[in-house]
Symmetry: C2
Subunit: 182 residues, 2 copies
């Protein structure tokens, strides 16, 4: 079955610092019409970083949409035209103070394809080293740096301190990479 939805018209609702919002009127595959509420986002990167001691590097951060702190892998939004790999190295350095010898893309996925176009690119950083002159955080960013074992990270998932898609993906990725099954 052809599933495509054709755009009849687009109504711009909001143009913010980070997201924009529009409502599209669409023609459905059966010829009827409906509306789709769409959030446009610049995209993001996140970094799976494990220290020489085998600890996973995480950051605790207050997330206003949730009105609470959660613990995540280091991540950040892409700046306009920015190369995702450059962005990944930058976010790792700014949020954790770590540099790395190499960084490799392991997956990219849409976070909420029903209403948003946000895509997140997940990297693995190798050869972590603390930088003495690391770049700092953005002026509206505040994080607590944490380094935990895989077992501690699994405990964080259980008690909902780790509670977001990219970080749960990252922990499963490490379980699979280490050959530790359920």
């Amino acid at each position: 079955m052809n599933l495509q939805e054709k755009t009849i018209s687009t109504k711009k609702i909001f143009d913010g610092r980070i997201i924009s919002v529009q409502v599209d009127e669409v023609e459905l595959p059966n010829g009827k019409t409906s509306t789709r509420e769409l959030v446009k986002h610049p995209g993001a990167v996140a970094v799976i970083a494990v220290t020489d001691e085998g600890k996973i590097v995480l950051v605790e951060q207050y997330r206003k949409p949730l009105e609470k702190e959660i613990v995540e892998i280091p991540a950040g939004k892409l700046e306009k035209g920015e190369n995702p790999e450059v962005c990944a190295k930058r976010e790792l350095e700014e949020e954790t103070g770590y540099g790395c010898d190499s960084i490799e893309l392991v997956s990219s996925f849409y976070t909420s394809p029903g209403f948003a176009d946000e895509i997140i690119h997940i990297y693995v950083a190798k050869g972590l080293k603390k930088l003495e002159d690391a770049a700092g955080l953005d002026e509206d960013e505040f994080v607590n740096l944490m380094e935990v074992t895989l077992e501690e990270a699994l405990e964080f998932i259980k008690n909902q301190r780790i509670y977001d898609a990219k970080t749960i993906y990252a922990i499963q990725y490490l379980q699979l990479a280490l050959g530790r099954t359920k």
Copy 2:
């Protein structure tokens, strides 16, 4: 470090059929102010469903925010006040025609904690059986039903037909459950 951001004021931007959007002015941990753009979403469920023949049940769907079709595990939005487990069974039936003997929560996570409060509850359905009188799709929903092996699903991830967080989580979950590591 205390990371909390206090709400100074809230400006409602949009109140749609599915999402609403607001901009909060916040007081940061250092006493300065900033703004946060927030999308409110009713939450969603998704279902990992494997047939007696070991095939994973998937649906192909046009996603307007991405302007393309992707292949996902069956999923849907929570209706107001709806129990997530009831919703999971309903969405499985509507999108795939399958009923199940039992359904169990395996994880819940926020999809985009930086700008949205959407949470998705992931269930595993056991004892699938085709229903003769299955409930149908919503009038603006069109999907192609697919049943694939784990190997085919991994191939779909590689060629970006599977491209969203919850479905990639589900495939990792099945790899771990089956003890198949990288």
